[in-house]
C-alpha cells in the first residue's frame, strides 16, 4: 500500500494506453489515478479494465497512492469495473459524478461485498468521490459522511460549470462558491478536499496563480491534467524553509507559554491565537508528509 499520506497532486493515466500508464509512474505526483472512465473509448472499456487490473494488482508503482477511477454509477460498466478495481487492491477507488449520499453508500456497500468475496480485509480500500455538479455540491457534506471509507471529495470543474450553465474561466470566479462549499463539507467531515484542475497545460503562470488560490482556500491537493503541472503544484503544498521555521517558532512559543502557565502568548511582539497555532501545525504536518526535514522535535 501507499508509503506516503500526501495527496498534493493527482495525475490521471488513461487505461486505454499502456505507455501513458507506464510513464505516469515516473513523475512526482503523490497520487496516480488509473482511469477507466472519460479517457477510455466505449469500445475499449473491457481492455482498459484488464490493463488496469493487471497493472495495479501485480505491478503497482511504489511510493504512490494508487487510485482507480471507475465508470459512472449508472453506466453499464460500473459493476464489472468494481469487480476488477476492488480485486486490483488499490489505495482508493475514485467515483465520478457523485450527487447523492445514497449513491456513495451503495458503492461502498458493493465494495465491501466484493472485498469479502475476494477474501480481502474489509474497509481497507478508500473511496474518493468526484463532485461534478451543483447537486453534488449541495449534498457534499452528506456524501462526505456517507461511509467511513470516504477519504476525499474532489471538485470536477468542467462538468460542474456545465451543470451550472457557467463559463469556465482561468480566474475561476464561477467555481469559487463550489470550492468553498466542498471545502467546508470536507473540513466538517474531517476528510481531504481536492481542488479542480487548471486546464491550460501551456500556462505555468496561470497555474501558479490558480494553485495559490487552491492553497490559500485550504485545499489539501489538486488534480493535474499534465505531468508538467506536477512539480509546480507540489511546490505550493510543500512549506518553504521560512514557513517551517516560523511554524516551529510559533509552536515553541506556545509550549513555552504552557510551561510558564501564561494566559496569552506573544511572539515577535504579536499575540499568538488559536488559529495561528492550528496553521503552524498544518504547515509542519505538510512538511513532514512531503519529507522535508523539519529540524524540530514537535508533534
Amino acid at each position: 500500500m501507499a508509503t506516503t499520506k500526501l495527496k498534493r497532486t493527482s495525475l490521471y493515466a488513461s487505461g486505454a494506453t499502456p505507455i501513458n500508464m507506464i510513464q505516469a509512474a515516473f513523475y512526482n505526483e503523490d497520487c496516480i489515478v488509473y482511469d477507466m472512465e472519460d479517457s477510455v473509448p466505449l469500445a475499449e472499456k473491457d481492455s482498459a479494465r484488464l490493463l488496469i487490473y493487471n497493472t495495479v494488482r501485480y505491478h503497482r508503482p511504489a511510493n504512490k497512492y494508487v487510485m482507480i477511477r471507475v465508470n459512472g454509477l449508472y453506466s453499464e460498466f460500473i459493476e464489472e469495473d468494481l469487480e476488477a478495481a476492488v480485486r486490483a487492491r488499490p489505495d482508493a477507488i475514485r467515483i465520478p459524478k457523485v450527487e447523492y449520499k445514497e449513491e456513495a453508500v451503495r458503492i461502498c456497500q458493493r465494495i465491501t461485498e466484493i472485498e469479502k468475496e475476494a477474501g480481502l480485509e474489509p474497509g481497507k480500500i478508500e473511496v474518493w468521490c468526484n463532485i461534478e455538479s451543483y447537486l453534488g455540491m449541495i449534498n457534499a457534506y452528506e456524501i462526505a459522511t456517507a461511509d467511513p471509507r470516504i477519504e476525499a471529495l474532489a471538485l470536477g470543474a468542467e462538468d460542474f460549470t456545465a451543470s451550472m450553465k457557467s463559463t469556465r474561466t482561468k480566474a475561476g470566479l464561477e467555481i469559487f462558491y463550489a470550492r468553498n462549499a466542498i471545502l467546508t463539507a470536507c473540513r466538517q467531515a474531517g476528510i481531504e478536499a481536492i481542488d479542480a484542475v487548471f486546464s491550460d497545460i501551456n500556462d505555468p503562470e496561470g497555474l501558479k496563480e490558480d494553485t495559490t488560490l487552491t492553497r490559500n482556500l485550504g485545499f489539501d491537493g489538486k488534480t493535474c491534467v499534465h505531468p508538467r503541472q506536477i512539480d509546480i503544484v507540489n511546490s505550493f503544498f510543500t512549506p518553504s524553509a521560512k514557513e517551517i521555521k516560523y511554524a516551529l517558532r510559533v509552536l515553541e512559543a506556545v509550549e513555552e507559554g504552557k510551561r510558564l502557565k501564561k494566559g496569552a502568548v506573544t511572539l515577535d511582539g504579536s499575540m499568538i491565537d488559536k488559529p495561528m497555532e492550528l496553521r503552524a501545525r498544518t504547515t509542519l504536518a505538510q512538511a513532514e508528509a512531503a519529507g522535508v526535514a523539519i529540524g524540530g522535535n514537535l508533534k
Binding site: I19, A24, A43
Partner: protein
C-alpha cells in the same frame, strides 16, 4: 502523455464537402489521387487542426495513406492502420488488405500485416497471417495427393459457351480442376448469380470444383490506383501481382501445377494478363496452358460480346449460339430480365 507530438485523431466525414476537399487537398500535396470508392477516412491533426497524416478505406482495402515528412518515426502510420483496421472489422471484413509499393511493405508489416506476395513494384498484405493459404486449403480434399491439379480463374459475366469450353478442355487435362469465380460486385451480373451459373453449367463434370475467388484475385476493380504515377503501367502491376498471389499463396496450398487461360487476341488487358502469368508462374513450377477460344460466326465467344448483344436488344433465345442452357434460362427469369433491362439502360 506524449509531450512533443500532440496529434489528435480526427475522422474525415466524407459526406461533408468541406472535409472531403480538405482530405483531397492533403492527398494532392502528397501526389496521391484517391479512387471514388472510399467509405471511411481518418486523419491525425496538429494543434491547429491541420491534417498531418491520413488514411482511408473502402471497407476491405486500407488505402490513401499519406504522412507528412516531419512525422516519420512517430508511428503515425500505426495509429491510422489501427483505426482503419477497426473500421473494416466493424464493417464485417476481418481480413482487410493493403496494396502498396514494394518498398513500403515493411512499414505495413510493422503494423501487423503479413505480406501475401509482392512483385518488384507492388505488394499485397493481409491482416490474418497465412490467410491466403488457409483460404485455399479449405478446398483441399483428403484424396488429392498425387493427382494432377489445375486451376482456372474466371469472371463469368455471364457464363458463356466459351467458358464452358475452356473448363471442358482444362478438365480433360487434369485429375482435379479448381474453378475460381471472381468475387466482386462490380460486374453487371452479381457474384452470387455468376457463381451459381458456373456451378450449374459445369455440374456434369465430376472433377471440377467451383469456388468463390475470395479476396485473393487482384482484379482491375480491386487494384488500387491512388499511388500510381503517370509513368506506371497499372495493367502490368495489377496482373503481375495477381499472378504472384496465385503462385505464392493459392497454388501451393492446393498443389496446383497447371493454370489454364483462354486466348484473347482482341482484348489488350486479357493479353497482358496472360503475359504476366507466363512470366511469373513458371518460376514457381506452374505451367500456363493457353486454350484457344471457340468461335461463333468467326468471332470468339466472350462475355463482353454477350453483354454487348444483350444491350443492343438481342433476346436470350437469339444468343443460343453463345450461351449454355443454364445462362439462357437465367436470363429468362425475372432477375435475368432485370439485368438485361439495366444493361440496356446504361448503354
Amino acid at each position: 502523455m506524449d509531450m512533443e507530438t500532440n496529434l489528435q485523431r480526427r475522422d474525415i466525414l466524407l459526406t461533408i464537402p468541406r472535409e472531403k476537399a480538405e482530405l483531397l487537398a492533403f492527398l494532392e500535396r502528397h501526389h496521391l489521387h484517391p479512387e471514388d470508392d472510399l467509405t471511411y477516412a481518418t486523419a491525425l491533426v496538429n494543434d491547429e487542426d491541420e491534417i498531418v497524416a491520413c488514411g482511408a478505406s473502402n471497407g476491405r482495402l486500407l488505402k490513401c495513406f499519406a504522412v507528412n515528412e516531419d512525422l516519420r518515426g512517430c508511428n503515425a502510420l500505426g495509429r491510422l492502420v489501427n483505426d482503419l483496421t477497426t473500421y473494416c472489422m466493424q464493417q464485417g471484413c476481418f481480413n482487410p488488405m493493403v496494396v502498396t509499393r514494394t518498398h513500403n511493405v515493411p512499414l505495413f508489416e510493422n503494423c501487423g500485416f503479413s505480406c501475401v506476395a509482392q512483385t518488384e513494384q507492388v505488394g499485397l498484405l493481409e491482416r490474418i497471417p497465412g490467410g491466403a493459404a488457409r483460404f485455399a486449403a479449405a478446398f483441399r480434399q483428403s484424396d488429392d495427393a498425387g493427382k494432377i491439379i489445375g486451376a482456372i480463374v474466371m469472371n463469368a459475366n455471364p457464363f458463356t459457351k466459351g467458358h464452358r469450353y475452356l473448363v471442358e478442355q482444362a478438365a480433360a487435362q487434369c485429375d482435379v480442376l479448381h474453378v475460381f469465380v471472381v468475387e466482386e460486385d462490380r460486374s453487371v451480373f452479381p457474384f452470387a448469380h455468376r457463381l451459381a451459373l458456373v456451378e450449374q453449367g459445369t455440374s456434369d463434370l465430376a472433377n471440377v470444383r467451383v469456388h468463390p475467388g475470395g479476396p485473393y484475385i487482384i482484379s482491375q476493380a480491386t487494384f488500387p490506383r491512388y499511388f500510381l504515377k503517370e509513368t506506371d503501367d497499372a495493367a502490368v502491376m495489377q496482373t503481375e501481382l495477381d499472378a504472384q498471389v496465385f503462385a505464392r499463396a493459392i497454388a501451393p496450398a492446393l498443389n496446383i501445377t497447371l493454370r489454364f487461360v483462354g486466348t484473347e487476341p482482341n482484348c489488350g488487358l486479357t493479353d497482358q494478363y496472360n503475359r504476366s502469368m507466363q512470366t511469373v508462374l513458371p518460376q514457381y513450377g506452374i505451367r500456363l496452358v493457353e486454350i484457344p477460344r471457340i468461335e461463333s460466326g468467326e468471332q470468339a465467344i466472350s462475355a463482353s460480346r454477350v453483354r454487348a448483344l444483350l444491350s443492343q436488344g438481342s433476346s436470350p433465345e437469339e444468343l443460343g449460339e453463345l450461351l449454355p442452357p443454364v445462362t439462357t434460362e437465367f436470363l429468362r427469369s425475372e432477375e435475368g430480365r432485370e439485368i438485361i433491362h439495366s444493361l440496356r439502360q446504361t448503354k
